[in-house]
Amino acid sequence: MKILLFGIAKEIAGKSVLDASEFSEAKNVGELKKVFKERYPEASKLSSLAIAVNEEYAEDDHKISTGDEVAIIPPVSGG
């Protein structure tokens, strides 16, 4: 599994890719979000935090598999 970080989430974690082994206990998107916020408490202050799995927004109950590309999506601000 690959975990990518963008925008302010990248700044909070201090890197642009997370070590997937630290998130091995997370079986789905909701659990991954929880672990991320525990590890980086600053992330809880964001107005929203979404997760994309294989380049698509994924709900909390979406299962995560080893080969997935996961992305931490802080509030978007394009345009």
């Binding site: 302010i8 994309a52 927004y57 999506i73 802080p74 509030p75 978007v76 394009g78």
Partner: protein, 139 residues
């Protein structure tokens, strides 16, 4: 149906007419987002945009397809720039053409509103006083 979706380094407005005009269209509506020098009383020097490009392009295609289903469109464009942009520079361009003007106006508004809601692009503001801040819109 003409369709153009891309993340670019800089937006070229001069091509917009050839990209959107269509023999079956009577109207073209275009929205261009530009860097404004003032935000919440602070003077902005520049913005910096980054994106999760592969996903951004996928989301932009979904938005274009949704608009094409809802309105009678003959052409559609969604372009977003990345990197550093100075005041008055274009950062986003969306547009559509349709037989009658109602459809292209409504679709164009939908394109920009939805792009801002969903497409994974983030901007950092660089202020005159040297602060830099990631923009995280409040709900």
């Amino acid at each position: 149906m003409k369709k153009k979706i891309e993340i670019v380094d800089s937006i070229d407005i001069s091509k917009i007419y050839s990209e959107l005009s269509h023999p079956a269209s009577g109207g073209i509506c275009v929205f261009i987002g530009t860097v404004r020098e003032q935000t919440q009383q602070q003077t902005v020097n520049s913005l910096f945009f980054e994106t999760y490009e592969t996903m951004a392009v996928k989301e932009m295609h979904k938005i274009a397809d949704e608009a094409t289903k809802r309105w009678n469109l003959n052409s559609i464009i969604l372009q977003h720039a990345v990197g550093k942009k100075n005041v008055e520079e274009a950062v986003v361009l969306v547009g559509a053409s349709s037989p009658h003007r109602d459809d292209c106006f409504t679709a164009c508004r939908y394109l920009i509103d939805t792009l801002k809601e969903r497409v994974p692009i983030w901007k950092k503001e660089f202020f005159e006083n040297t602060d830099e801040v990631w923009v995280t819109p409040h709900p």
